[in-house]
C-alpha cells in the first residue's frame, strides 16, 4: 500500500480490499471510494497485549483502522510529512509523529533507556520523548510527521551522526543511540552554547532530522 506525497504536508494512501492501514485518529483529510474508518480500540496491532504494552510505555496515540477500496488523503496540523519505505528493517519513531502506516508492518514498543547506560536514561528526559519509542518492522511504508522539512542523514561504520534531541524525528536500521555532550563542565555551568546534549547515533542506518527544534 504505497503512500504518495501530494504536497509536502499531505499524503495519499491506496487502500485495497483485504489490506489494513492504520492512521492517527482524525488525520483523514479526504477520501475517494468505499473506505471505512474504525477507531482502533487496542491502538494498533497485537491485540490487548500490544495495547497494554503501549499504555505502559506511553506510546498509545489514538489510532484508527482504515479498510475498504479507494484512496485516502492524510495530513495533520500542517506538519511536514515524510514517507519512509521499509524493506525488512526497523523504524524507530515516537507514536505521536506517526501519521499513518501500512498494516503489514509489525508494530512494537522498545525501551530506549537501555542504551548508553545512565546517559541513556537521561535521553528520554532531554528529548522530552519518554524512555520508550514505537517500532515498525517489516515490508511496507509509514508516513511520519515533522515540523519543517526533513533531513535524511546516513549513519555508517565509523561515521556516527550527532543530532539535537529536539530536532530528532526518527531513525531506522541497526543503530545504537546514546546521549553525548560536546562541552566541558565549565561550559555547562551557567554559560551553555545551547548545545549541551546531543544524541549520538552509530551503527548502520539512517536518521531523520527536522528543520526545527520545536516539538509537534
Amino acid at each position: 500500500m504505497p503512500f504518495t506525497l501530494l504536497t509536502s504536508r499531505m499524503v495519499e494512501a491506496q487502500v485495497l480490499p483485504g489490506q489494513t492501514l492504520f492512521s492517527q485518529r482524525g488525520a483523514m483529510l479526504a477520501y475517494r471510494g468505499d473506505v471505512r474508518f474504525t477507531p482502533s480500540i487496542t491502538g494498533g496491532q497485537r491485540g490487548v497485549r500490544g495495547m497494554i504494552g503501549r499504555r505502559i510505555a506511553d506510546e498509545d496515540t489514538p489510532l484508527m483502522t482504515v479498510e475498504g477500496q479507494g484512496t485516502v488523503m492524510f495530513g495533520h496540523g500542517g506538519h511536514h510529512v515524510q514517507v519512509i519505505d521499509l524493506a525488512g528493517d526497523t523504524l524507530y519513531v515516537e507514536s505521536d509523529r506517526l501519521l499513518a502506516f501500512d498494516g503489514s508492518l509489525r508494530q512494537g514498543t522498545m525501551f530506549m533507556g537501555s542504551q548508553g547506560g545512565v546517559m541513556g536514561m537521561v535521553r528520554g528526559q532531554v528529548t522530552g520523548q519518554g524512555l520508550f519509542t514505537t517500532t515498525l518492522e517489516g515490508h511496507g511504508s509509514a508516513a511520519v510527521m515533522a515540523h519543517g522539512g526533513v533531513l535524511e542523514l546516513p549513519i555508517g561504520p565509523g561515521r556516527p551522526v550527532h543530532v539535537d534531541p529536539q530536532a530528532y524525528v526518527a531513525h531506522r536500521g541497526d543503530v545504537r543511540n546514546k546521549l553525548s555532550t560536546a562541552i566541558g563542565w565549565r561550559e555547562m555551568v551557567g554559560r551553555g552554547s545551547g548545545e549541551a546534549f546531543q544524541l549520538e547515533l552509530s551503527g548502520t542506518g539512517m536518521v531523520y532530522v527536522q528543520a526545527s527544534e520545536e516539538k509537534l
Binding site: H80, H147, G148, G149, L151, L153, R159, P160, V161, H162, V163, D164, A167, A182, I183, E187, R191, G192, S193, G194, E195, Q198, V207, V209, Q210, A211, S212, E213, E214
Partner: protein, 212 residues
C-alpha cells in the same frame, strides 16, 4: 573557509575543515564529524562590541562552532537565505542572523526611528568583510535592487536586511486625520535611496506601525 550550502530551503549545511563559524545559540540540529560548541559572550569585536550590544539590545546569543565535518543548522523551520559578502556591509536584525563565517566582523549600528517602528529597537546588527552569512526569514526572501533612479519603499515588518550604500528614512503615507481612526494598514514605510540591495520577506512582523 567554511562552505555554506542549503539542504532544502530550511536547513543550512556548513562544511568545516578545522575552521569555525558563528551561529545562533542552539541552532544546531545535527552534525557529522567532530565539532565543539562554545558560547561567545559578545559576538565579536571584543569587550567594546559586547558593551555596545548590551546597550543597544542587539545582544546576540552566539556560539562558535569549530571542527571537522558537516554541521547542520535550522531555526524553527524558517526559510534560509545565503548571502555572500565581498567586503561590503550587511545590515540585519540579530534575530534573523543564523550563521556567519568567522572571518566576518559583526557590530551594531544606529537605525533611529526605523527600528522602533519595526519593533526591533533602535539598533541593528552589521556584518562586514568577506565570507558567507545565512539569514532566516518568514518565507523565502526576495532581493530587490535599489539604484539612484529607482528608490524603494518597504513595509517595516517585511524588511529583512540590506547591503550597499543606502540611505534609509522613515515615511508615512497617511495624513494626520487618517492616523487617528481609520488607516489603510500601510501607515509607515522605510524608503531606501542610493545604490544597494534590500532583502524583503513575504510576511509582516508585528510592528508599531502595523498596528496603527
Amino acid at each position: 573557509m567554511a562552505q555554506f550550502r542549503l539542504q532544502g530551503s530550511r536547513v543550512l549545511a556548513v562544511d568545516l575543515t578545522g575552521d569555525s563559524v558563528k551561529a545562533k545559540n542552539g541552532a544546531m540540529v545535527a552534525y557529522e564529524g567532530d565539532m565543539t560548541f562554545k558560547k561567545k559572550t559578545g559576538g565579536g569585536e571584543g569587550l567594546r562590541g559586547m558593551v555596545t550590544r548590551r546597550l543597544t539590545g542587539e545582544q546576540m546569543a552566539v556560539m562558535e562552532v569549530k571542527g571537522h565535518g558537516t554541521c547542520y543548522f535550522a531555526d524553527r523551520a524558517s526559510e534560509i537565505n545565503l548571502v555572500s559578502l565581498h567586503g561590503e556591509k550587511l545590515y540585519v536584525e540579530s534575530s534573523n542572523l543564523l550563521c556567519t563565517d568567522s572571518a566576518l566582523r559583526t557590530g551594531a549600528s544606529f537605525t533611529g526611528l526605523r527600528g522602533s517602528a519595526q519593533g526591533n529597537g533602535l539598533f541593528t546588527t552589521t556584518v562586514e568583510g568577506t565570507g558567507q552569512a545565512a539569514l532566516v526569514s518568514a518565507g523565502t526572501a526576495i532581493v530587490l535592487r535599489v539604484t539612484p533612479q529607482t528608490p524603494l519603499q518597504v513595509d517595516p515588518g517585511a524588511y529583512l536586511a540590506h547591503t550597499g550604500g543606502l540611505k534609509q528614512h522613515f515615511q508615512t503615507g497617511v495624513n494626520f486625520r487618517a492616523l487617528i481612526g481609520e488607516s489603510g494598514g500601510e501607515s509607515f514605510q522605510i524608503r531606501f535611496e542610493g545604490d544597494g540591495l534590500v532583502y524583503v520577506q513575504p510576511s509582516e512582523r508585528n510592528t508599531i506601525g502595523g498596528e496603527l
